[in-house]
């Protein structure tokens, strides 16, 4: 680090006097100064950079902590962050890996030009970037949204996994405890049996059987816990965004429906065939006169409009 970190070049305060001194840089020119200087100089509004010979108009909001020692790296990282936000097409949007790699190279080229190129190269690159941004505004927003969904999804998935692991661990501990208790129980029962006059073999056997039964039950419980279906994480957001992209309106029947009928069903009819419909066992199965009658009515009109003589006249003779 060296002395550059111990004294602010603008106000010359030293770290010795201000141990908490923090330095900030502005991506416009990457000239570093302490936090109090930034406060003092830029709080009122944008002002020129105080470094001699710089003069660039700086804004308070754009000051940030320097992450990398090497300013060159810091600059490039900033540029990269900015460019990648704009050129955010996802790998699966490309048909071949080759195309995807070309895309990545293009981005690298732009970043290099802006971060380390000459003034002319930088200007040309910035021009291309702003053109691209204008052209692909919608797509950029979509991709950003998609990325966010993926991040959320991954987070939830990780949380679910962690939760599951935690549950398993707890269960294992519980199992251990219960097995210890069982062993103790088994011993106790053996002694009781012996005191009650049973032979030692009998006592041991009986106690062991009981213990095995209890152990089996415990294991089954454990298995049941394990196999319980975990809550499925749904990609709700992602699915919704995807769905809203140009789709035909949703129709559950897809046209497989008769919309209007030429009849109107009455409440009741004189219908000798339906005498048995009132029997409880018939009704219990779901059969009702009303339903059967509706079906008969539909069938009545079903083939009314089909004119075979006309329609088949154009068919090839058999």
């Amino acid at each position: 680090m060296g002395d550059a970190d111990d004294m602010c070049p603008i106000c010359r305060s030293s770290r010795y006097l201000n141990p908490d001194m923090k330095f900030l840089v502005n991506p416009e020119c990457y000239h570093k100064m302490c936090e109090s200087c930034v406060d003092r100089i830029f709080s009122v509004g944008p002002a020129p950079c105080p470094y001699v010979g710089c003069g660039k108009t700086l804004r308070k909001g754009r000051f940030k902590t320097q992450v990398f020692d090497d300013l060159k790296v810091e600059r490039e990282v900033d540029v990269r962050q900015r460019i990648v936000k704009i050129f955010n097409r996802r790998e699966d949007a490309f048909d071949t890996e080759a195309e995807y790699n070309d895309y990545l190279e293009e981005i690298e080229g732009l970043i290099f030009a802006i971060a380390q190129g000459s003034a002319a190269e930088r200007e040309e690159a910035e021009q291309r970037v702003s053109e691209y941004e204008k052209l692909h505004k919608q797509e950029i927003i979509q991709n950003a949204l998609q990325q966010k969904q993926d991040d959320v999804y991954a987070e939830e998935q990780a949380a679910s996994d962690a939760e599951h692991q935690r549950r398993l661990r707890l269960l294992a501990i519980e199992l251990q405890q219960q097995e210890a208790e069982l062993a103790a129980q088994q011993e106790k029962e053996t002694i009781e049996a012996l005191e009650a006059g049973k032979t030692s073999e009998q006592a041991v056997r009986e106690a062991r059987e009981r213990a095995q039964l209890r152990a089996e039950q415990l294991r089954q419980q454990f298995e049941l816990e394990l196999s319980r279906p975990r809550r499925a994480i749904t990609r709700k957001g992602a699915a919704a965004a995807h769905a809203s992209a140009a789709r035909t309106p949703f129709t559950p029947f897809v046209g497989d429906r008769q919309m209007e009928y030429l009849f109107r069903q009455a409440e009741e009819y004189l219908d000798p065939t339906m005498e048995r419909a009132n029997e409880p066992a018939v009704r219990a199965g779901g059969f009702t006169a009303a339903l059967a009658q509706q079906e008969a009515l539909k069938l009545a009109f079903m083939s009314l409009e089909v004119d075979i003589q006309t329609e088949k006249a154009t068919a090839i003779a058999v």
């Binding site: 749904t234 559950p252 497989d256 419909a277 029997e279 779901g286 339903l291």
Partner: protein, 304 residues
């Protein structure tokens, strides 16, 4: 015309091969109906299957491409569908999103709706019969138990239809006059299984099935389901009386289900068949209109 390349399955009535249509080299499934020494000639299951498949054409109902005879056996040529919903459900490495389940249920309902429009009851809906095409389309298959709806109470039907776990309570209790509601029940149970990834009501015997159904969904009372006490098998299972689950309890069991999903599922497994929703009503449920939209068929998960 057709070649049988490899045997892919065998049931009580038929052997299924994967094969090719000679002229087009198209992959097909050839279902050879076993000549069961059926003393009464052509097997009823085969007749039913052929009879009904010939009448329907719908993207969610399997297509019968051809029928031919070889060595005295009837062979049905069907579309080749390599996987089914049961395979997917059991494959724990495949994760189902809500949108995926919605898409499958939608296709199943559309298929069954089409059958019901044609006044046909399928009577054997189960994940095993929901075949999946490579492009993601779901197709209902196996019409071996189907029949035309009974339009008068004089037509008695056999209650021993539908694979046990997916059989409606009225069938379990021996009803001989039933409706499309039995198919809707099956779909409701399949929906539950999609969410749970294990069969919802899995009895080992017919008797146990009714017990399990009542335990899970409550013992129906004659006051709620008119005439239920007149069904042959009701008495045996009317006691002990199990209470119906609360909404809370169901939400706990179906922990990943949205409110709309639970609403729909419940409406499809209402005990009284008259109160159960029809396919029309189910298709109009809010569940299908709410977000997320059903996954596009091409993007549905496939077996790993």
């Amino acid at each position: 015309m057709y070649t049988k390349d490899k045997k892919v399955g065998e049931g009580t009535f038929a052997i299924v091969y994967v094969g090719r249509q000679a002229e087009t080299d198209r992959k097909v499934a050839v279902k050879m109906i076993k000549v069961n020494e059926f003393k009464n000639g052509l097997d009823m299951t085969a007749i039913r299957e052929i009879k009904f498949l010939q009448e329907m054409r719908h993207p969610n109902v399997i297509e019968l491409l051809d029928v031919f005879v070889a060595d005295g056996n009837i062979n049905l040529v069907l579309e080749f569908l390599p996987s089914d919903l049961e395979m997917l459900i059991r494959d724990r490495s495949v994760v189902f999103s809500e949108a995926d389940m919605k898409s499958w249920l939608l296709m199943m309902l559309r298929g069954v709706h089409h059958c019901h429009r044609n006044f046909v009851l399928h009577r054997d809906l189960k994940p095993n019969n929901m075949l999946l095409a490579p492009d993601g389309q779901l197709k209902i298959a196996d019409f071996g138990l189907a029949r035309a709806m009974a339009l008068t109470p004089y037509e008695r039907m056999t209650p021993t239809v539908v694979t046990r776990w997916y059989r409606a309570p009225e069938l379990l209790m021996g009803a001989r006059h039933y409706t499309g509601a039995v198919d809707v029940w099956s779909l409701g149970i399949i929906f539950a299984e999609l969410m749970l990834r294990v069969p919802y009501l899995a009895g080992q015997t017919d008797e146990e099935q009714l017990e399990i159904t009542f335990k899970a969904l409550g013992t129906p009372l004659p006051s709620q389901w008119k005439g239920v006490d007149a069904l042959p098998e009701y008495r045996k299972f009317s006691t002990p009386r199990h209470p119906a689950p609360t909404r809370q309890q169901l939400q706990e069991l179906f922990s990943a289900a949205s409110d709309a999903a639970l609403d729909l599922m419940c409406s499809m497994i209402i005990m009284d068949p008259i109160k159960r929703v029809t396919t029309d009503e189910a298709l109009l449920a809010a569940y299908f209109r709410d977000a997320p939209a059903p996954t596009r068929t091409t993007e549905l998960p496939k077996k790993s």
